[in-house]
Symmetry: D2
Subunit: 413 residues, 4 copies
Amino acid sequence: MKPNLINKRKIFNDPVYGFITIPDDLIFDIIEHPYFQRLRRIKQLGLTHLVYPGALHTRFHHAIGAMHLMNQAVSLLRSKGHIITKAEEQGVLIAILLHDIGHGPYSHALENSLVLDMNHEDISEIFMDKLNVIFDGKLSLAIEIFKNIYPKKFLHQLVSSQLDMDRLDYLKRDSFFTGVSEGVTSTERIIKIFDIVNDNLVAEAKGIYSIEKFIIARRLMYWQVYLHKTVLSAEYMLMKILKRAKYLVEKGEELFSTPAFRLFLENNFNKEDFLNKPFVINNFSELDDFDIFTSIKVWTKHHDKILSLLSKNLVNRHLFRIELQNKAFDFAYIKKIKDKTIKFYNLKEDEAEYFVYSDITSNYAYNLKSDKINILYKNGEVVDIAKASDQLNISVLAKAVTKHFLCYSKELI
Amino acid sequence: MKPNLINKRKIFNDPVYGFITIPDDLIFDIIEHPYFQRLRRIKQLGLTHLVYPGALHTRFHHAIGAMHLMNQAVSLLRSKGHIITKAEEQGVLIAILLHDIGHGPYSHALENSLVLDMNHEDISEIFMDKLNVIFDGKLSLAIEIFKNIYPKKFLHQLVSSQLDMDRLDYLKRDSFFTGVSEGVTSTERIIKIFDIVNDNLVAEAKGIYSIEKFIIARRLMYWQVYLHKTVLSAEYMLMKILKRAKYLVEKGEELFSTPAFRLFLENNFNKEDFLNKPFVINNFSELDDFDIFTSIKVWTKHHDKILSLLSKNLVNRHLFRIELQNKAFDFAYIKKIKDKTIKFYNLKEDEAEYFVYSDITSNYAYNLKSDKINILYKNGEVVDIAKASDQLNISVLAKAVTKHFLCYSKELI
Amino acid sequence: MKPNLINKRKIFNDPVYGFITIPDDLIFDIIEHPYFQRLRRIKQLGLTHLVYPGALHTRFHHAIGAMHLMNQAVSLLRSKGHIITKAEEQGVLIAILLHDIGHGPYSHALENSLVLDMNHEDISEIFMDKLNVIFDGKLSLAIEIFKNIYPKKFLHQLVSSQLDMDRLDYLKRDSFFTGVSEGVTSTERIIKIFDIVNDNLVAEAKGIYSIEKFIIARRLMYWQVYLHKTVLSAEYMLMKILKRAKYLVEKGEELFSTPAFRLFLENNFNKEDFLNKPFVINNFSELDDFDIFTSIKVWTKHHDKILSLLSKNLVNRHLFRIELQNKAFDFAYIKKIKDKTIKFYNLKEDEAEYFVYSDITSNYAYNLKSDKINILYKNGEVVDIAKASDQLNISVLAKAVTKHFLCYSKELI
Amino acid sequence: MKPNLINKRKIFNDPVYGFITIPDDLIFDIIEHPYFQRLRRIKQLGLTHLVYPGALHTRFHHAIGAMHLMNQAVSLLRSKGHIITKAEEQGVLIAILLHDIGHGPYSHALENSLVLDMNHEDISEIFMDKLNVIFDGKLSLAIEIFKNIYPKKFLHQLVSSQLDMDRLDYLKRDSFFTGVSEGVTSTERIIKIFDIVNDNLVAEAKGIYSIEKFIIARRLMYWQVYLHKTVLSAEYMLMKILKRAKYLVEKGEELFSTPAFRLFLENNFNKEDFLNKPFVINNFSELDDFDIFTSIKVWTKHHDKILSLLSKNLVNRHLFRIELQNKAFDFAYIKKIKDKTIKFYNLKEDEAEYFVYSDITSNYAYNLKSDKINILYKNGEVVDIAKASDQLNISVLAKAVTKHFLCYSKELI
């Protein structure tokens, strides 16, 4: 490829924002890199499309959208007199573009199944460091912003805080593609009220109602979409399938899978391995939704009854019933269902856990422990929104809401 | 007109909902009546278009839209097995169609200036009774529903309660035309979760987040639109103009006005007058935004300095500065501004009140005293949302928020 | 007013585009001027709201919207390397902002009734010249662009041509507020394909389908909205009312009206008068929808039968039946209806023209005689779209479509 | 599963239409069947998402959406007095639901690579017949409508004609998810003007502009999306990959693939095979986008240079340059590029066809040969739109537009 002949002023059509322009050549080249193109094959919301059939959008699209919002935020802050250099602009755009690059396929479900003690942020950093080598150190500033070691802290806050471009984009995008129109937030309006005080991102007081609505919309999206009980049921089924597959592989069973997926079925890599064994991150960079789901499709015919049954249930969307309640489930109740299950499927005692399981899920709408959302008054005062709101009891919203759930086969009822 | 030759299956194009079909001939004829056509000339949001230039939609459009939602609600409730007879359907549709027919022009500003001790609901009832005579008693059931004396109480709740079709439509319509996209609510979703328990309108628990968001959106619309400080400033200016005009008329001054408007400038009619003197309601039925604003335009050249100054300020959108705060304004501060004003405009002591005035405005997002919003759980239990919400502190939202404001001329600063 | 204390960075909320920022202080001051504020009281689509109840948007909103698009066009053209100086940017923004300032109330209906041999462009020029005096000559460049005497011709084309910002805005805005969603055009996409070749505005060939669709959408809006038969019927009724009013005034009859309106009822001013008698343009600058419609409302009770009958019909939306066909109406058919009308209303022979009238209306989707829409190919070639389109026969679209119509009272049928 | 315990009144959230309700139990059960669930894994627009990243919607979603429109069409036609029995309603809903069930993965690209002389309609019929057996003959009426052997012909036209629910949904859905807003059509408005004359679906003349716009929007979608040159380039690359894979399999090479996919790589089944060998349709029913794309991902490391090179290019979106023009490409020009390619990649003569290829693509906006779009005038006359349109030269639109294209590696330039 002779890069100088390629038009790098590409424009993306985004049903959410209209047109998105790639701001410069370096960013164009990063987007073109296979590490980033992989995100085209990782759905933003995993198995959520089993409930909301439109929710097939990818992490690729989200990353591009968040970069677009960052562009708007940079312009807005400059128009209010804050200095953001050309290099910082590029840095913060790259930081948001790559903030999720470490996500694996179905990552909410698999983060704990395929890798040990690592989250996607750790892996994102490894990818960024590798890209920085490939692009001759041009990502150093972006990485400093991402790791929050760059002096201007507000740049990191634009990438990661309770008002970051990540959240602004995903809330809007997820509500767009799921069709849950109530989650829609006016990103344009929220960005318009941004300002910087003492190197901190703040929101002008006149926009306090927009911020409140953003918090409420996020809360709604959590319970209506992200933690939707049928989605939970599907995600846990996927985890159980993975668990069974790993167990069979350990036992030496033959299992269809792509080579990249096989590596992670056969091993339990930890952070050390990702850092020190190049083949680990290389194989991870080839893994996407296709590897996992295609394998599961083939497993529907595996001779192991448990693996094939669970796989068939997932593929044909024959999901487990899920009960949700505020307190833990009664032990006797679980026991009764387990017994029925063992009988129904003719299982061994310890195999019941694949078909009956309970866990908790929780969420808070506003996080008091992380960076606050700061409200700027006309007199220059800056106040945490949890105190600023005249009425909406945000400290109450900051309390985690926890729900218990129990999954089991519909056939048992 | 030979009514049988007229196509009464008219369809309205509504930018908010798409197409709206007129359900039957009686409703068609009511809409055609001059009493209802008058609503075409009364803006839903009075002077709000001085801040949000798109907010020119009328009470006519709102009434048609609310009727459209009522149609959906009736279908939904029937599909859930509740009996609503043909006559009740027509009744509840007419009741919502006419719920606001008593509104005068700029009614938020003028309700207390032009008529005494009457609100638009009282006048709506008078109009409905008159229409009932004209249409041979066919509106009797609608009037019973409107007055809440019809046995099936839930029909009245669809017309007037914290989840009525009036609110559902105006919140959506007002946010649409102002462009305040955050006020948008999913009327479709909220209606889908309606149900009836013990003759009360309830909302299924699965939709509780939608209801919460509806309450929050309403709160946002109040502070961002309905009680926007510049709108308040304009509305109070209009009241002061009216006050001065009435004062001048009492003094025997010549004043340009339409005949219908003149009657209300020269008199202070009360409910008795509306009920007993037919010319009063007849003249009222001819009054709309045009009478008021056209007269004010002519008054910009009146020889009375106060009347012409205020009129010019309103017509050319040269509004008074408005300060807003949580506590009452300091007496000394007001005094200082009044003194400056008197000197600046060369006024008499008692004329200062036309140029400097303070008042309070208040709002609550959820009203504990009126009909509650009841949430229906799967086990059949019904709970007030103020108690049902797991997190959103609705009892806090039910506390009135009160703000004090002070208006004075920008020239003084 | 101490202008330096006023925040001139005002933002408008526009339901069509979101936020619109006022670009500079001069433009802010022009918008604040009473000449421009008058446009807040002139509906863009006259009586169209009688058919599409949402169509209440004003020329004020349209002018602001067109300025917003101009801002986008200037940025886009600069990003493609074309030089537009700061002064030219301000000039072209002001030119589009003021392009319609000469419109009178209900101007499609009244242009020929109230003034003689003048169109709104002539009056716009007079207003611009007056504003130029008020603002110390700062509008000179804008006026040169508007009159197409500025050297860079493409700037004028952005203000007035078949792809100008006027059309782009009004098509989008009118379809938004009428709810005729099919008229929606992607202004963003069309502006993105703009370019300049030899001082001419052109559109890149890759966007040819967007241009085609824009032409088709415009054609649809003409027949579905602008020339909707019920709208035609209402507009002609308004003209007849005006005609009768002028006739009565000439005969010396008393007629309610605002002072500004009276002047135009009593006189027939021509261009000379507008240019040489300052009171003429001054009075015109006070005239808006309110003057006309309020007077007609009062005329519904005038003792002249013709005036009151027509006025009542318009105010209560009891419009004349309108027949539309491709060829002229048969003389005998018209005669028969006239005879019936004379008998029905007990009229004199020459009064029938107020109740029965026919005329023609016509439109072409693409105008071969005005500036062409030029398409730019990658090889640099520039071709008229009428020749460039591979399939859509634009030369056919350029043929005027003419329709004949006949109006008469519904009572006659 | 005890079906009677399952709530079959499922509602889908559709970002395009809002809520979609499943109309009855049989349809619910068909949707739940693995044959239909498979459509969740087949993207409606194949590789189009490589250009429009939002275009990931599936044939599942489209089928549900088309059923929703059919529901509206049935209601509308009944409201105009046409009789559609309960059984016919269910039949026509099932017919549209299953109209595309025979589609394979990436079917535009693969229809000619994986199966011989069969199109998806043939396979849809086979699936329907199989489902009819499974559901005890309850699909017989639906199949008659689909095959156009049911007496009421207009029911078939709703399923398959130039105004069918298939087109209405896919145009709207595809423009929604691609973000090509200009393709949006008002399905609501078009359905509102439907009527039946002599057992034929017609459109009322008052809606002729909507139909015209629908035809133009469809044309725009063809050139801007369906036949977008980069999409063509990707689809042809996929075909070349398939071709190479089949060639290698025939030669006895080892190739990673899922079992279902392998069957079609190793064989060339024709219609006879599909009808007579149950394992063929069974394996086909397990094939989706995952099988194909996952295999291609693994092939990026295959030792066959051609297979791995093409696979890598597709997976990492390093597509071939594509030139498009109205006439055939010059033989000498193609030869020159082929020679360069052979040299660059060090290929054998006959291997060049994998890297350099030309073909034609064509489309007509209106098809004169298929069912016409008939326009119904108020006087009862019915006219083909090609003749009815007063101006839009639809006979010209009916001419096929053909374009030639040539693909080759970007490295060669």
